[in-house]
Symmetry: C2
Subunit: 410 residues, 2 copies
């Protein structure tokens, strides 16, 4: 009946499933490329790992390739693949130069050729070729940041002044087929947002772009005016997209492992976004209702909660969520809640998350602490630490939001 | 596909099931009383309705009876039953006199006789016979309120200075059989707390009572000292207890109606106690995960949420919960969330609760309102009113906490 051990097994196997390596291999499992050339373009913070996985799987089948990742994020040579490091979160000249190389690589391909396009977070900065001079871009960026435009509005403008964003990179690959594998780190997998959607049809219009310019009274040059009048591709006929390693897959992997361990699992959501502590309280009340069940149950949540900081303690949203459930499950036998950040880091702490069970409230009390007061102080880290309730994984090499699980074992 | 109509049907049938009348009849369905006399004792705010239901069902089988309810809470004569009204929430001489009558009614019964004991909220004040003089009781009550003792500590003391609390009334009924029907208005149905448990075994001890006296340095007379040394009944052999009309039954009734309407229902909890708005957000993220399902689903919550007042608007916890889910379900087809207080009153408003669906965010926007801002202002009432999102039932005649439901119709 070691729930802590079950939790650890679930954490290990779900993080394994969400690693760029595993995720890319899974995405490529059933893929058949046409007989022509196969060009690999891998962009983002996980670009090297994703390219490595593809290279391990496809080997000599890859004719040529390029990796564009953040400084210090490549981990060695890969056969037939050139590796570039560039600026993030602010693009620099290396971003532009590497992107130019990628464009050349996919230019002049035939309809029998393939572009394997691997995308991870950070791609917006790393993969960019502006269609306006650098100083003009800088001025526009400053205006957009200062005026209070939201991220959707900013992207509507940005896509028009870029040679690759908003589906334009896929256009440059034509007539070759683009097979796009997206490692999603944004809840809901908005494909036009991840790396600004270089290979995804764009829903925005010139009219919308002009409405934004007028709304915020932006000053735009003639060059920008001309670009705002060009529609981005609203359809793409040469792209197949596969989302992998998203928080949904994290939940599905947890579901699978829970079932193997004898639990009857249920995913409640993959887009949790409420307050961490309240989500914990909610899980605690679910636990109470099912406390008399004769089946082992697992309730699974994916997403990313928020913490409203009031106190001056140390913690993270996952530690708060777990501790938030402690009062609800207090005294319940064989009942536990754990929550982790899939990147292995929860808030400004060295822990990945927190674990509580039916004995946690008593353990706190034995240590002279009160769960409610610790939560009010936002000090879940020190509270859980004293009761052996912290979960450590170290940096995991992936980042697909958080996983929270309620386990009831019979 | 009229979700609003489904919601109304679910509300109507669950409130019907939770009415004292329905609840008592359900509890008495399979009850066989032994051949002797049948004495009815009904106490609490719903005492008259409960007695009326029993009288309708058992008629002339009731040999004698008594109702003790709050002033202005009786609604007419009942055959063979004397009706008393008394003080609540502070007991008065009418409480003591009526309780004395009840004690006389159950004194001297034989083992073949039956006491049908109907209990509802408010019974602590209405049903009381103190074992110490009135001024001494008043002094002790003041000390307990001033010292910061919690409700469990207060009850540990109070049960010892009462002739009927803490299982003692059931003892007075011996050797007759007591059939106790409890209309629970406290989440989790703590039977020793509802009306201070006149017919429920008491778990507290003399030692605990003395620990409380010492902890808070209470001044107690010799009479009280003597009473604190007498153990309350920790076991009762002549009592059968049935809880009815609780929030759990509210959920079960909703589950039944949802199934009739073609939904696959799931009760998530009957003891929800987190922040209203965050519970709504949680439901919204569940809705997103199941938005692609091909089955009609209903997720059911019972309990009582809290509202953290920040703004100066008008609303109630059910209206906030519903509105808190609006952003999460925005744009989802055939998806709705509603939440109601079973008493028909939500906060200081004339509404019972709120209803939102996938169009609510847009409807707010069309009225020049923003859901987020309305929530920040705690002004759910006016926001929902403008969009026809308020639910009105009028006073329902029951009070078994709140019901919240997420409907996804296919």
């Amino acid at each position: 009946m070691n729930l802590r051990n079950d939790a650890q097994q679930i954490i290990d196997s779900t993080i394994q499933a969400a690693l760029p390596d595993t995720a890319v291999k899974k995405a490529l499992e059933d893929t058949n490329f046409s007989e022509g050339r196969l060009i690999l373009v891998s962009i983002g913070k996980a670009a090297w790992s994703m390219a490595k996985a593809a290279s391990d799987l496809l080997g000599e089948r890859i004719n040529d390739g390029i990796v564009i990742t953040k400084y210090d994020h490549s981990m060695g040579d890969l056969p037939h693949i050139r590796i570039f490091e560039a600026g993030h979160p602010v693009p620099d000249r290396n971003s532009f130069a590497a992107t130019e190389q990628a464009i050349q690589l996919v230019t002049g391909l035939s309809a029998n050729d393939n572009v394997l396009f691997l995308i991870s977070g950070g791609g917006s900065a790393l993969f960019e070729k502006p269609l306006i001079p650098e100083d003009m871009l800088e001025d526009l960026t400053k205006q957009l940041l200062a005026c209070g435009a939201d991220i959707v509005e900013m992207n509507t403008i940005r896509k028009r002044i870029s040679a690759v964003k908003g589906g334009k990179f896929a256009k440059l690959c034509e007539p070759a087929q683009v097979f796009s594998v997206v490692l999603s780190d944004i809840i809901g997998d908005p494909l036009d947002m991840i790396a600004s959607g270089p290979a995804y049809p764009d829903g925005s219009t010139c009219q919308q772009a002009w409405d934004i310019v007028n709304k915020y009274k932006l000053t735009v040059s003639e060059e920008i005016e001309a670009l705002l009048n060009i529609e981005t591709p609203s359809t793409l006929t040469n792209v197949t997209t596969k989302v992998t390693g998203s928080v949904t897959q994290l939940c599905v992997a947890a579901e699978k492992k829970c079932r193997e361990l004898g639990y009857e699992p249920m995913i409640l959501t993959a887009s949790l976004n409420c307050q961490a502590r309240e989500a914990g309280s909610f899980l605690g009340s679910i636990a109470k209702y099912y406390s008399n069940t004769d089946k082992s149950l697992a309730f699974i949540l994916g997403g990313e909660t928020v913490v409203h900081l009031k106190g001056k303690g140390l913690g993270g949203r996952n530690q708060e969520l777990a501790l938030g459930s402690a009062i609800g499950i207090a005294g319940l036998e064989n009942t536990a809640v754990f929550s982790i950040g899939s990147d292995g880091t929860d808030g400004p702490t060295d822990a990945a998350g927190g674990y509580v069970d039916g004995n946690t409230v008593k353990a706190f009390s034995d240590h002279g602490m009160d769960v409610f007061k610790v939560l009010e102080e936002n000090d879940a880290y020190h509270g859980l630490k004293a009761c052996d309730g912290l979960i450590f994984t170290g940096p995991t090499g992936t980042n697909v939001n958080d996983l929270s699980v309620l386990l009831i074992k019979r």
